[in-house]
């Protein structure tokens, strides 16, 4: 590989490269768009069933055209044949799913394997039709990207245009279908027809993709870009845009790389490029990627842990003192350890975290004491917690014994604003309220509780 070749390829200097790059990129964009709805409809593998189901159509179309005295390999004829059996296959999947106890996967598997078997049987027969060379029909199985010509390109561009127009026209209906099909049909939308329109779009993409990237690899075009896009966003519009872009980029990358290195099948490189983008998205995707999700989880864990530590400390202070106002005294580690259940190594970790956040400080005696800000925070957290418990008991009719667990979770999830609202609703004016289901102080705590009022430190 030379620089010259690289720049030639990147600047699309050759007519052929330009044509193939744009053709495949358009195809990728279209497949990404349509595939998004398939993914959200949880029907990704339908493309698999469909692409296999096109094979008998190709064979039959070849035989019919040969019988009519035409050239058996006329592309439009073959594609029409592929479309017909492809659609038939999809309709059979829908029918099996609707009328039997069999689930999606089995319905797709049956159609896929039987149609593919039939297709191979028919192709085998077609190969032996005298006077017609069927060689190259199996190109549909593995694809022949580099041999794309102008008319193929025009076909792809038209399909892309139609797909975009249809998608925009029925975006609302498709969205409803994808997210809540039952609601959609209860609202009186013709879900069956929407499904059929979606399937028709998928069929169009698959059939066009057949000869560009092949029967197996077009499946990847329908599945991988939308799944990758899903990791970056929770909004449908963005997902559609991203998915189409990822499809186009993997198409461009695949074609360029296979043009640079001889003897690399373009279809396969496209799929590998898409898979690499998928892997990157799965790890780093901001909305649902593995790492961001992990960090969010850690953050939540820190927050919950902090609240547990501060509230426990505050409750111990309440239990070991009688009388208002509450004083911020050092408490022994032993009391803290016995106050609630701590996971293995959890308490030392939380104390380390609390010290770094300047909420607690270690006394020279080894006891723990809340800092100025920690005391305020602890009082706030405890109050929020009890507000919630009270709310749940009074308004949500939950047995008092079951409240604490829920309170924990809700408290961690809700913001200060809602808490203020609650406070107003419950008409509470005290800075701290008593726990509506107070846990009896432990024996230890009672022992440490002084009989007389203790002097301020």
């Amino acid at each position: 590989m030379t620089w010259e070749l690289l720049s030639e390829t990147l600047r699309l200097e050759h007519y052929n490269t330009r044509l193939v790059v744009f053709g495949v990129a358009f195809l990728g964009a279209t497949a990404g768009l349509v595939g998004s709805f398939l993914l959200l409809r949880k029907q990704s593998l339908l493309g698999d069933a469909l692409s296999h189901a096109t094979l008998p159509g190709i064979g039959i179309a070849f035989a019919v055209m040969a019988a009519m005295g035409l050239s058996g390999k006329s592309l439009p004829g073959l594609l029409i044949g592929a479309t017909i059996t492809g659609l038939l296959g999809v309709l059979l999947v829908l029918a099996i799913r609707k009328t039997t106890r069999l689930k999606d996967d089995a319905a797709m598997g049956i159609v896929l394997s039987v149609f593919f078997g039939l297709g191979v049987a028919i192709l085998k027969m077609v190969e032996r039709i005298p006077g017609q060379s069927a060689a190259g029909l199996d190109g549909f199985i593995y694809g022949k990207t580099a041999s794309m010509i102008w008319s193929d390109f025009v076909l792809i561009a038209i399909i892309l245009l139609i797909t975009i127009i249809v998608t925009i026209a029925i975006l609302k209906e498709l969205t409803l279908l994808c997210f809540d099909a039952d609601f959609s049909s209860a609202q009186g939308w013709p879900t069956l027809w929407l499904d059929i329109i979606l399937m028709a779009l998928v069929t169009a993409v698959t059939v066009i993709g057949l000869q560009a990237v092949g029967l197996i690899l077009v499946i990847a075009f329908l599945i991988t870009p939308p799944t990758a896009a899903r990791f970056w966003t929770n909004r449908l519009g963005w997902m559609l845009f991203l998915s189409a872009t990822i499809g186009a980029i993997s198409g461009w990358l695949g074609v360029s790389i296979s043009a640079l290195y001889s003897n690399l099948p373009a279809g396969a490189i496209i799929v590998i490029a898409a898979a690499i983008i998928f892997l990157f998205s799965m790890i780093f995707g901001t909305a649902r990627g593995v790492l961001p999700r992990y960090f969010r989880h850690l953050q939540l864990q820190r927050k919950v842990g902090r609240q547990h530590l501060l509230r426990s400390t505050y409750e111990i202070l309440e239990n070991t003192q009688n009388g208002e106002p509450l004083k911020n005294l050092p408490i022994s580690m032993d009391l803290l350890r016995k106050h609630r259940y701590w996971g293995k190594g959890e308490l030392p970790r939380l104390i380390r975290q609390g010290r770094s956040e300047d909420h607690v400080e270690r006394q020279p005696s080894g006891e723990l004491r809340l800092s100025e800000s920690g005391f305020g925070e602890a009082s706030r957290i405890t109050r929020n917690h009890r507000l919630w418990e009270l709310y749940l008991i009074k308004y949500a009719d939950i047995a008092p014994t079951h409240v604490d667990r829920d309170a924990d979770m809700v408290e961690h999830l809700l913001g200060a604003e809602i808490v203020h609202q609650l406070e107003a609703e419950l008409d509470l004016s005290k800075p701290t309220i008593d726990s509506p289901h107070a846990i009896e102080p432990t024996e230890h705590e009672l022992q440490t509780r002084p009989t007389t009022k203790i002097p301020p430190p």
């Binding site: 394997s113 990847a220 590998i272």
Partner: protein, 306 residues
């Protein structure tokens, strides 16, 4: 009709293979993972290619191992993507098998440069066009050993599957119907899942050489699905799907002789066996106890209730 001893051999190998596939297929169906067979049979390609690159020859134990490992990896990767990426299983499966298949294609293309490898042999032979090799395997009486070998390999696979299912029948049953309960009872559904996947991978690969992927995929799915429409009892389900599998092999081989009788060109046995299985499914779908015809007549009966 041009019926020869070869037909019996084909039926023997095809029938054994169909049964070997239908057994794990039944549990795949119950676990709603029927497409796994399709995914695995595509994804073994890089395994075959790498094994070839390492060992330098086709059709030996290395090929088998490479393919089986690739098959199990497919199940593993799918599981990981589903679990860690929270992606729907179908989509995860689709991504994994298309990617592995693409890697396989590249490897084979590259291998053909350096090693004396007939790319088409692995590509077509191991995937779509194996049945062509199989017919020649039987045509020639001098290579008599080839016939029992294929039947032996498949027979051994069938035996392996029967043994595993007999040993872990209870566990498989529980894991198929209630993985949650299986887990709480300590039956480790995860382990059963991977055992099932291993079975599918081994069966797929063993059957590859002899009959091609078409029969494998079809027999993993169609006979169990057909039986599923005919019974609601697990032992019966297994037996009926075995019967449907054998019937598909016999009737399919007979059907492959029909086109020449009509003046049409010859066709492949494996394609016709898969098609016949589909036809049997259609019959069950229409005429089974819960079939379309029965449903239709039931619907007509309803007005008589009042």
């Amino acid at each position: 009709m041009n019926w020869t001893a070869n037909d019996f051999h084909i039926i023997l190998v095809g029938g054994l293979c169909a049964m070997a596939c239908a057994l794990p297929g039944t549990f795949l169906l119950l676990r709603r993972m029927s497409m796994m067979g399709d995914a695995i049979s595509h994804a073994v390609l890089p395994g075959l290619a790498i094994a070839f690159l390492i060992s330098g020859s086709r059709a030996n134990i290395w090929m088998f191992l490479g393919a089986a490992i690739a098959g199990i990896l497919t199940a593993l990767f799918t599981q990981w993507i589903t679990r860690f990426g929270k992606v729907e299983r179908g989509a995860a499966m689709g991504i994994v098998f298309t990617t592995l298949f693409a890697i396989g294609l590249v490897l084979i293309r590259k291998a053909a440069d350096h090693v004396d490898l007939d790319a088409a042999c692995v590509l077509y032979g191991a995937l779509e066009y194996t049945p062509l090799n199989m017919v020649t395997l039987f045509e020639n009486e001098t290579s008599f050993f080839a016939v029992p070998r294929a039947a032996l390999v498949i027979g051994a696979t069938l035996l392996f599957n029967v043994l595993i299912i007999a040993l872990f029948y209870k566990e498989f049953k529980l894991a198929a119907f209630d993985p949650g309960l299986a887990h709480t009872l300590g039956f480790r559904p995860q382990f059963m899942h991977y055992l099932l996947m291993t079975m599918v991978a081994v069966t797929t690969v063993a059957a590859f050489e002899a009959v091609g992927s078409i029969i494998v995929i079809a027999m993993l799915i169609v006979p169990p699905a057909t039986a599923f429409l005919l019974t609601r009892n697990l032992p019966t389900l297994i037996i009926v799907s075995l019967i449907v599998a054998v019937l598909s092999a016999i009737l399919g081989q007979i059907a492959s002789h029909i086109p020449p009788l009509l003046g049409l060109p010859d066709t492949t046995s494996s394609g016709m066996i898969a098609t016949t299985a589909g036809f049997l499914f259609l019959l069950a779908w229409l005429f089974g106890p819960e079939g379309l015809i029965k449903k239709q007549s039931k619907q007509l009966e309803i007005p008589h209730f009042d």
